[in-house]
Symmetry: C2
Subunit: 446 residues, 2 copies
């Protein structure tokens, strides 16, 4: 993309309404614009990152054998009356009457709807195991929306639902989700720690939240410092293998890690030596639940088992906060100049800064780099504006592309351009060809 | 995808509530399930087609230089009061009160919101031309939703908005949209004819609707039969070139083609020789508008021009009915056995039918074909169920994959599998390797 043909409305001033750094930077970098309280338009740059995150989530869910579909945003209240949650849910549910006066709602979650789909189509244990998921906009009418996309009212979430014959099979689905979530977050450049959590209104005894450590996190967390040394890495896990998935669960959840909701100071002291006890703040970016037959019993979602007997299926639900992740990543990865995108989610792979727009050699070199990157399947952002170098650098630093190529007449006389890492600030001089090779190699590993 | 691990709930019986063939086939093929009146869940197969159509729309909009972003579903009523449409819009607008009693609505379209974004960020003619678009769920509270996804209440639409300094530039944007729409529909295997249309509640003198001819179309259409000979093909059009885009507009819109809303019998007779006059029915799958300064004046969206004077921008809006296109494609492409997907939008590229599941040679050959197709970047659907051949064929015919490979012990003894076209029903025997090459070649041309 050439910046002169893009829509990147960066702000010079720091917006006064934004209390946390991710909200400030998303507004300043022209990623979002508030449409109304807690509801945002995703401007082109923000939308690109949202799509990258969504794509990672899709890829990892499909890898785990989970099946994508899509449920609508507007639901009938009738299903929620069946499960008993219509009255329970409180004012966070956005309730709507349609033109015929029927009670509808903007879905805050989808246990009822997916259970209705299941019971309408599945009848036998032979069709299990089954995990369906979707990535769809949800609405929760927060009384005080704040922190930008971190606690918005309209938000994008991946929610998946497993259907299994018995508890054992459902716990394997739980473990598959845990593994796929660890992989997903790492691909986004995040360390998200599974912590024992509270079931809340969805219910469930087995549940973990995934938390990203950040000073601005809304939850206080308590954990064994050994946990932060764990890496999922690029190990191959067979999602069909019960012991392999179970081993990952044990590795990542056996040490003490809890939010304030489940924290037990006595257990913490007993299990963790003092030198390894950590208290910090965390941002929740996902949660997995096993809740057994809570919805299948209430709604009659049963299957005939191998013994010919009909029984309610065992279910769980599993969510990733897709839009909230943008905020979480920025909270975890920024400096005083702006955002620092991890390579896995960056909106553009590389910036190109032309130090002297209009100079024939500089223009030609930038065009060459631009086309060479596109030919490698990478997306560059070429700052082709007639602006001072300082303004171009400031924009690139603010929007946080992990790599920048700087091209100017002086370097070109020596046959080099400058390649700079946004994270370390380190630069090196390379021939244009070598710079292209270097960038390709970096992204081939992502 | 292996069918035993997929969720494809095909129905044996024809659902009684469905009045038109696309609705019946989408229900029978397990593509959608009604969630409530006019609101559907997209089951895995339907979701895949929806995503393919969405992807074509994105690619062609980006090719035209239009910039993707995303606006939220829920909007504040305040902006609609500014434009004057809050009271005008009538009962089709889903009106909502949030917990604080503020008037909100589920967006049926986005002229107000995009104009608000524009006026908040753009100030100079130097930032023009600009076309922003998004693909987002809309809601129109139809009094009698029917025909499945063809006239649903919650529907997915691409809507794009151009901002230009003057009428001339805005009409070039109009032409760019016309070109990109012609390309998009052809890639989906559709002939969609631009017809002179009525502005309706969005307003505008320059507007064309794109109609797919089909007996079940809701509009009566009148046209010169020469129009159906026009093909966009794979010609290269420079979207920056005013004369090139204008030439396409003239080629595709100079002949008489109107819906009943704008039809003029006298003009029809005057312009079209009797032998070429056609009356038919059509399904609307898109519409483009130029409406000048209607919203920019009402909402104060102005720019400073080259002369230093401030003036309201010229705008247009341009829509493609993404979810409705599934219905339109099926109406235009089916037979009495089921759907016939055009290659450009098919949910899976090729079906694999194992005639004798459990036979070692047949199983091995199917596995080989399955992996070879995946290795070519294609998505096969392998029917690995323990079912009779007839049931497997019926499922494949119903869900409409354009190509099927049939694998059985007898063919394998001769070293062949059968490759069958869903559209023509013709089969040929090929070695497994040759079949893979043939399928790859077919899709390389799409």
């Amino acid at each position: 993309m050439r910046l002169t043909r893009y829509f990147l409305p960066v702000l010079k001033e720091t917006p006064s309404e934004a209390q946390i750094v991710s909200h400030r930077l998303m507004l300043r970098a022209g990623m979002i614009k508030q449409a109304s309280a807690g509801i945002y338009s995703w401007l082109p740059l923000g939308y690109k990152v949202l799509r990258r995150i969504e794509q990672i989530v899709h890829e990892e869910q499909i890898r785990a054998g989970h099946i994508p579909m899509l449920m609508p945003t507007i639901q009938s209240a009738d299903l929620w009356r069946e499960s008993g949650r219509y009255d329970d849910y409180g004012e966070e549910m956005l309730r709507i009457k349609d033109r015929h006066g029927r009670d509808m709602l903007f879905g805050p979650t989808n246990e009822e709807l997916i259970t209705d789909i299941f019971r309408g189509h599945v009848n036998s244990y032979k069709d299990l195991p089954l995990t369906l998921y979707h990535i769809q906009w949800k609405f929760r009418d927060e009384i005080r929306p704040r922190f930008g996309v971190m606690r918005g009212r309209e938000f994008l979430m991946k929610d998946g639902y497993n259907f299994d014959l018995d508890k054992e099979a459902a716990l394997h689905a739980y473990n598959r989700h845990l593994v796929s979530y660890l992989r997903s977050y790492e691909r986004m450049g995040l360390q998200a720690i599974p912590m024992r959590a509270d079931g809340g209104p969805i219910g469930g005894d087995y549940t973990h939240e995934f938390l990203v450590l950040a000073e601005t996190g809304e939850s206080e967390v308590f954990y064994d410092s050994e946990i932060t040394d764990l890496k999922f890495g690029d190990r191959a896990v067979d999602y069909d293998s019960v012991p392999e998935c179970q081993a990952v669960l044990e590795e990542f959840t056996s040490r003490y890690a809890r939010t304030d909701e489940t924290h037990d100071e006595a257990v913490f002291h007993e299990q963790v030596p003092e030198a390894r006890r950590r208290t910090a703040r965390g941002i929740e970016v996902g949660q997995i639940f096993y809740f057994g037959t809570k919805y299948s019993e209430a709604m009659g979602a049963t299957v005939v088992g191998p013994d010919g007997q009909r029984s309610p299926v065992h279910m769980g639900s599993h969510g990733i906060g897709v839009s909230r992740l943008l905020g979480a990543i920025i909270e975890a990865s920024h400096d005083d100049k702006g955002i620092i995108w991890p390579e896995g989610v960056t909106p553009f792979h590389c910036g190109i800064v032309n130090l002297k727009q209009g100079d024939a050699a500089a223009d030609a070199a930038c065009e060459g780099l631009y086309k060479a990157l596109l030919a490698k399947g990478l997306e560059p952002l070429y700052d082709d504006r007639n602006e001072r170098a300082g303004a171009k650098f400031a924009t690139m630093d603010l929007i946080g592309l992990p790599w920048r190529m700087t091209v100017g007449p002086r370097g070109l006389e020596k046959g080099v351009v400058e390649l700079t890492s946004r994270r370390t600030g380190e630069s090196e001089e390379l021939s244009p060809d070598a710079a292209i090779v270097r960038i390709s190699q970096i992204y081939a590993q992502i």
